[in-house]
């Protein structure tokens, strides 16, 4: 049995995860992670072949901060709005207080003239711990079924 408070914390966590990106609050999105965290975006084509290549990999929170700072001030990218739709959460784990979430997502991007396109579909594998009532992400792995990235990938999934 997954305790009710864990279910609530996980639901809140994933709601905040998607919405903070969609609201362009990327610095606040980073705050959902532990200092010792791991964030990775991989494509299913590689996973199915057992190949380790990554599209993005931050193996601690400072690297995540660098990714966002670079996005804000250094990189050029397709101007767009993100919209995440995250499916029901499959919860598991619990050993040593580390819980797991598996959930499907779709991410639609909309350009500044209002044209929306499916940008990515895939799933999340998240490990989190409870810090008081709130969940903190230990690791988040995005496995994108959409291996053919339209244009480029600048904002996190």
């Amino acid at each position: 049995m997954i305790p009710a408070e864990v279910r609530h914390a996980a639901a809140d966590l994933m709601a905040e995860y998607g919405l903070r990106i969609d609201e362009d609050r990327l610095e606040d999105w980073v705050e959902l992670f532990d200092e010792a965290c791991d964030y990775k975006v991989v494509i299913r084509e590689n996973v199915e072949q057992g190949l380790p290549n990554v599209l993005m990999w931050c193996d601690n929170k400072n690297m995540l901060r660098d990714r966002i700072a670079s996005y804000r001030d250094v990189n050029e990218y397709n101007l767009h709005w993100d919209r995440h739709v995250i499916g029901p959460l499959r919860l598991g784990g619990g050993a040593d207080g580390v819980w797991t979430i598996e959930a499907a997502y779709t991410l639609v991007q909309t350009d500044l003239e209002g044209v929306s396109r499916l940008f990515s579909a895939g799933r999340y594998l998240v490990e989190f711990v409870l810090a008081g009532a709130a969940a903190r992400i230990r690791s988040a792995k995005v496995i994108a079924d959409t291996g053919l990235i339209p244009t480029l990938l600048a904002t996190p999934i």
Binding site: P52, N53, C58, D59, D66, E76, N78, L148, T151, L152
Partner: protein
């Protein structure tokens, strides 16, 4: 079909925008370039190490199977058009795998691992009735095969009997660079794919435009990975169809760079620091000590080293207004676990989400968007000079883009009168 281009300049410093949009031009490119006397990059030998291993790939927009034949079929590496002789269905549908033979699902026509048609169900009919005509020649009907060349484990293919020997095609410069990247056995780390809604030539040009590198990709300059002030330059083959942009680690000073980029809008030299600098850790691992090497081979290949990230990119045209960039990342078979980890961390630099590469997708799409309706206007390609095309020992240049167009024009049969080569 014949067509003409009214070149404004015979040095290809003005390219009409309509060449990125015309369907007829695209169709001719597939015929005269990708099915013409060029060698196209197929895949890496390391991806098909065992007999029966195959990968599907593209030469222009023609689907191709690259296959290491089984022992019974001779064991050599073959490439053939991935299209059933019978009705034209894709024979192989997976991206990769291992097979003793390939069978089209539609009517189960069967192909040997070298591409030869060897089986047709009910060929002799049923109970003496029907079947294929007795004189049907299976060998002659087999899918078209490409000539395959293996340069240090990098596989190239051509449809044309008129292609030069691969060593001449790549030149000493090219084969030398391939040997450099593949000087010992490699390990495939994986793939990435990017769909850019722009003409494939815009991507080919991008790879030959050193001028943009440190301006569009601000990360290079901001964090000092690559700056125009570093020692380096562009090298081309004798025909100026291939190019290499390169730079050497730590050959400029912060003061050089500050002076050079002073006043350039948007460049934030020295303003930012990475909190975690391991991404940029680089210990020269090649004898030449380059930290950036990007040899690009006409028409569809790039080899790229950015610090410890190593890879190939294959240009896959997807119609006149889209191109897939297919990237294969690799390390060396004798890399330690720690080295592999560092190569994967370095993968943050490249690919569709790469700190120093993501911008190309956007730059190309906004050209495609803004030039769609142009019948007359041209672009301007003069950075680095006009006239003759030659190697340069500096990095603020787009001269190799003119080299690309010069060779493109030769293959397409539309060279400017007296055009430079």
């Amino acid at each position: 079909m014949t067509f003409e281009i009214r070149w404004e300049r015979d040095d290809y410093s003005r390219i009409p925008f309509h060449l990125y949009h015309d369907e007829e031009v695209y169709a001719l490119e597939m015929e005269r370039i990708f099915r013409g006397p060029c060698w196209s990059y197929l895949c890496l030998e390391a991806e098909i190490p065992n007999p029966g291993d195959y990968r599907t790939t593209w030469v222009g927009d023609t689907p191709v199977v690259v296959s290491r034949a089984t022992a019974e079929a001779g064991g050599a590496i073959h490439a053939f058009v991935n299209r059933c002789a019978h009705r034209g269905a894709q024979i192989v549908r997976k991206t990769h795998g291992n097979a003793a033979e390939h069978v089209c699902i539609y009517h189960r026509w069967c192909y040997r691992t070298d591409g030869e048609l060897i089986g047709i169900p009910f060929r002799r009919g049923l109970k003496g009735e029907g079947g294929m005509p007795k004189d049907f020649d299976m060998a002659a009907a087999s899918p078209q095969r490409l000539k395959v060349a293996n340069v240090s484990g990098m596989l190239f293919g051509t449809f044309s009997d008129d292609a030069e020997p691969i060593e001449d095609y790549l030149g000493e410069f090219g084969t030398g660079m391939v040997r450099r990247f593949f000087h010992k056995p490699i390990r495939i780390l994986g793939y990435s794919r990017q769909l850019i809604r722009g003409n494939w030539k815009l991507y080919a040009e991008n790879l030959r435009d050193t001028y943009h590198a440190s301006l569009l990709h601000e990360f290079f300059v901001t964090y000092g990975v690559d700056r125009a002030t570093q020692k380096g330059g562009v090298k081309m083959d004798a025909r100026h169809r291939h190019n290499m942009n390169h730079a050497y680690t730590a050959t400029d000073t912060q003061a050089d760079a500050q002076a050079a980029y002073a006043g350039t809008a948007g460049v934030k030299l020295d303003r930012m620091r990475l909190t975690d600098t391991k991404l940029l850790q680089h210990t020269p691992e090649f004898a030449d000590r380059m930290n950036l090497a990007a040899p690009t081979f006409f028409p569809n290949a790039l080899l790229i080293q950015i610090n410890h990230s190593l890879g190939t990119r294959q240009i896959r045209p997807k119609g006149v207004d889209a191109v897939e960039v297919f990237q294969t990342l690799f390390g060396f078979a004798d890399d330690t676990e720690e080295q592999t980890r560092h190569r994967l961390i370095s993968a943050n630099l490249v690919g569709p989400a790469g700190f120093v590469s993501m911008e190309d997708g956007e730059a190309i799409e906004i050209i495609q968007k803004a030039t769609r309706n142009e019948r007359q206007a041209t672009n301007i390609i003069e950075m680095g000079g006009r006239g003759a095309i030659s190697d340069l020992a500096h990095r603020v240049t787009e001269t190799p883009v003119r080299g690309f167009w010069s060779y493109w024009s030769e293959l397409m049969g539309v060279e400017a009168p007296g055009g430079v080569r």
